[in-house]
Each structure stands twice: as structure tokens, then as C-alpha cells.
């Protein structure tokens, strides 16, 4: 039995997985805020435009890592491959996100001349079905976020990845980074409404972090008691100070403490605002570190 570190997917793919989760979740949460809390067009348009940006950037990282990126269209051939579904989900996401965000952009006077070039028929159709686009978009965002975990769990010889916990972990962590990014955005706003949303996002992120901790507990419990590469991988992570301090302490425990403090004790002052900003940034950095280290700790278990 030999355990060998995978040398195939590096930080580029970790960045792609991070941006995929972040972009998918940011859009999904924005769309849900729209549906349940009403529509602050300025905030939501910035959020959705950034989420599209994250996904475009992520796709560039993915393509840059390929041997033949110009042939990427061939990826729509084999439906048994998760990458096939990833391409479908990401395109579905882009269509939903663009259809959703166009009517919202009308609040920006500088963009009006560009939007006015779109035929009024299409524009009024997009306006009319804006809620539907939000609903479809939240599903598309969720699918993109969970796909990042499904992609790497399809590895029979890397037992640390090949578990049902990994897609769950990535989708919850993705949504936590999405909530943190929206929280970060809302701290820049002085508007009373967006503070209400910030308080909701704070609660959402705290719940997501607790869920993530539960999944991590189950995941590591599984990995450490299995005499396979999964145990070796878990031990690699336990011996990585950046994973423990950067991801676990600073990326989960500290933001959870700040958010819990915010939910129960803080009034929304300038001080609590800077704390919230710090918590959001920690969650985002932690989200990247999680993916980077999970990829790094991928160990093949070869039978020789």
C-alpha cells in the first residue's frame, strides 16, 4: 500500500472551487434576499454583478489549468462526467444571473444608455419575470456551489475526497463565504434597510458556520477511524498549521464568535461594523484555505 500526494490539481483549481462556491452562493443568497426580504436594487445589483465576476474569474483559472482550453466546448459530450454537469450548471447560472441583473442595473444612471440599447420588449419581459429569474437563479447558484464538491469527490482512489461529506462541506462552506461577502458589502452601506439585511446575514452565516463545524466533525471522525488514505489525509491537515490556524481558528471559530457577539450583544456602531468586516474577510480567506488544503491533502492509495 502506498500513499501518494496528488500532483494534478493545485492552487488554480482550489481558486476555481473557491470562486465557484462563492459566486454560486452569493447569487443564490442575493436572489433569496430579493424574494423574501424585498429588493434593494443597488445592493443586489452590486452583489450579483460581483458574483458573475467571481464565476468568470474562476472559469478563467479552470481554463488556464487545462492542456487545451480552446477545445473546452467538447466538455459537453459525456453526461456521466461531473464536469459535463458543471458546464451546464455554470451556463445555466450565467443565463439566470444576467437575465436577473439587467432590470436591476437601471438604478445606475451611468449604465442607463447601455441598457436602453436592449429592445424594450426584452427589457419589459425581463422586468416582468424578475422574481422567476431570482428563483431559478437561487437554484442555479446552489447547483454551481455543490458541483465544486461533486467534481472532486469522483475519485475512487483518493478516499479523503470520495465521501458524501465533501460536497456537503463545500456547499455549506460556499454559502458561508457567500453570506460573508454580502455581509462585507452591506457594511459599506449607510442605509437603515441594509443594516437589517446585515443582521439577517450575520445570523445566516453563524448558522452556516455551525453546520460546517458539524460536517467537519463528522468528516474527520470518518477519516480518522478508517485505515485508508483518508486517515493519512486527515493527519496531513492536522499537521498543517496554516489549515488549523488560518482555516479552523481564524476562518471559522473567530468569525463565529464575532457573529455570535453581534447577534446577542452588539448594537450597530462603527466598532461592530469593523468587527463584522474582519469576520467576513476571515470567512472568505478561510474558504479559500479549506479548498486549497483539501486539494493538497488528496492522497491516492495505490495497491503496491
Amino acid at each position: 500500500m502506498t500513499f501518494v500526494h496528488q500532483e494534478v490539481w493545485h492552487w488554480q483549481i482550489a481558486t476555481y472551487l473557491f470562486l465557484g462556491g462563492l459566486g454560486g452562493a452569493t447569487f443564490a443568497i442575493s436572489a433569496l434576499i430579493h424574494l423574501f426580504e424585498g429588493c434593494d436594487r443597488k445592493m443586489l445589483s452590486i452583489a450579483v454583478m460581483s458574483s458573475i465576476g467571481f464565476l468568470v474569474l474562476g472559469t478563467i483559472f479552470l481554463l488556464a489549468d487545462m492542456l487545451q482550453p480552446l477545445k473546452a466546448i467538447y466538455a459537453l459530450t459525456n453526461p456521466s462526467s461531473w464536469i459535463f454537469w458543471g458546464v451546464i450548471f455554470i451556463n445555466f447560472y450565467f443565463i439566470a444571473a444576467i437575465a436577473y441583473v439587467i432590470p436591476l442595473l437601471e438604478v445606475w444612471p451611468k449604465l442607463l444608455p447601455i441598457i436602453k440599447k436592449i429592445p424594450t420588449g426584452i427589457l419589459s419581459l425581463l422586468e416582468r419575470f424578475n422574481n422567476l429569474a431570482a428563483l431559478v437563479g437561487s437554484a442555479a447558484g446552489f447547483l454551481v456551489a455543490i458541483y465544486t464538491g461533486l467534481l472532486i469527490s469522483a475519485a475512487p482512489a483518493i478516499s479523503f475526497w470520495n465521501t458524501p461529506a465533501l460536497p456537503l462541506l463545500f456547499v455549506i462552506s460556499g454559502f458561508s463565504t457567500g453570506a460573508a461577502f454580502l455581509l462585507l458589502l452591506s457594511t459599506f452601506s449607510n442605509n437603515e434597510e441594509s443594516w437589517k439585511i446585515a443582521a439577517k446575514l450575520e445570523e445566516l452565516d453563524a448558522i452556516l458556520i455551525v453546520t460546517e463545524l458539524i460536517i467537519l466533525g463528522a468528516y474527520f471522525n470518518f477519516a480518522l477511524f478508517l485505515p485508508t488514505g483518508a486517515r493519512e489525509s486527515a493527519q496531513v491537515l492536522f499537521h498543517s498549521p496554516v489549515f488549523i490556524i488560518g482555516f479552523f481558528i481564524l476562518g471559522l471559530i473567530v468569525p463565529l464568535a464575532i457573529e455570535t457577539h453581534g447577534i446577542f450583544f452588539a448594537d450597530h456602531t462603527k466598532k461592530s461594523r469593523s468587527l463584522l468586516m474582519a469576520a467576513s474577510i476571515f470567512v472568505l480567506v478561510g474558504g479559500f484555505l479549506l479548498r486549497y488544503y483539501v486539494l493538497k491533502a488528496g492522497l491516492y492509495q495505490f495497491p503496491w
Partner: protein, 194 residues
């Protein structure tokens, strides 16, 4: 294919023959076949184990499932191959393969191949590369390069479906076993332990 580990001497002639036949990038230590040289047991009860390995041409093929482009395919004879024109080099197959049988034939290797092998090159573009059981030789009635080179008859090749063939008899003899059978990949390479 059946590997008779009792007779392997670790000469690595199979690796050399494969490299020459299939123009694999030996300059970057990338090979389609390897000979693992391992020590087994605890002192003083130790022994050396030589395990030749290559693509297992699995019947349930994780790399084929993971390949989004259909570049990886199985021929009618059950050989798993890569269509270089379709391969985008996403490495999903390399991640999925439980037998370390795939590697990237990258842009740098394609250039170097021209330097080393001149005009007669078989890898005209970057792609993920793997063993083909030398199907270009097999279709002419010859054995794969590694098999015909092996001086100790460690590698035995033939039609597993033909009950009269040596490989069929050895594979079903009860002595031979597949690697990592618990993964359910149904490999077409069997090992007779030493």
C-alpha cells in the same frame, strides 16, 4: 494481461520497450508502464517484491466516467484509449484513475518529442496519455512491446474471452488476482503473486 510476479527480475526492459514504441516523455520521467520495486515485511522476515504495472483497462472505467469530452473510450476489444483530438487536458481522468496509469503529455513534451524522435512522432498535440495495450501492434497480430520484450515471460498477453488462451487459463486459475478489487473496477490485468 497476466503478470507473473514470480518471474519478474526488475530489468525494466518493458519500460524501455514501451518508451521506444510509444514515444513517451522519458525526459520528464513519464512512462506508460512502471516496475515498482518494494520491500515487504518486518526485519528479519523481509523480501523484495517487483510489481510491473500499467493501465488495467478496467471494465468499469473510472477515467472514462470522469472524462467530460468522450476523449477516453473503450474499443470493442475492451482496450481503453484516448482520442487526442478530443482531449482538453482537464485531468479529471488522472484524478479518477486508481492505478496511476495516466500522465499529461504537455506542450513542452510535444516540443521535446520532436527533438528526440524527429519527424516520426505520434503525439502531435498536448493531451493526457496512457497505455493502449499497443493496439496498433495487436491489430497486426503482434504482442504489445512490453510483452514481446520481457525476457522472463512475466507479462502474458492474449484474449481473456478465449477459453483456450494462456491468459484466460491463468486469470481463471485461482492463483491470479486483480489489484484493488474492492473498488469494483474489474481490471483486465491480473497478477500471480510471488
Amino acid at each position: 494481461m497476466v503478470m507473473d510476479m514470480r518471474t519478474c527480475v526488475g530489468c525494466q526492459a518493458c519500460m524501455a520497450a514501451c518508451t521506444a514504441e510509444n514515444q513517451t516523455p522519458f525526459w520528464n520521467e513519464k512512462f506508460r508502464t512502471h516496475v515498482e520495486d518494494k520491500a515487504e515485511g518486518i526485519f528479519p522476515d523481509v523480501r523484495r517484491v517487483l510489481l510491473p504495472r500499467l493501465c488495467m483497462h478496467c471494465e468499469n472505467t473510472p477515467c472514462l466516467t470522469a472524462c467530460p469530452t468522450g476523449a477516453t473510450y473503450m474499443t470493442e476489444d475492451g482496450i481503453v484509449k484516448v482520442n487526442y483530438d478530443r482531449c482538453i487536458g482537464c485531468y479529471a481522468c488522472c484524478i479518477a484513475c486508481p492505478y496511476d496509469a495516466r500522465y499529461a503529455y504537455d506542450g513542452e513534451d510535444v516540443k521535446k518529442e520532436e527533438e528526440v524522435y524527429g519527424k516520426f512522432t505520434s503525439h502531435d498535440q498536448p493531451h493526457v496519455d496512457k497505455c493502449t495495450f499497443c493496439d496498433h501492434r495487436v491489430s497486426e497480430g503482434r504482442e504489445p512491446a512490453c510483452v514481446s520484450t520481457c525476457p522472463t515471460h512475466t507479462r502474458i498477453f492474449g484474449d481473456l474471452d478465449d477459453p483456450e488462451s494462456e491468459v484466460h487459463k491463468l486469470a481463471t486459475s485461482g492463483k491470479a488476482q486483480a489489484l484493488n478489487p474492492q473498488l469494483g473496477t474489474s481490471p483486465k490485468v491480473f497478477y500471480i503473486p510471488s
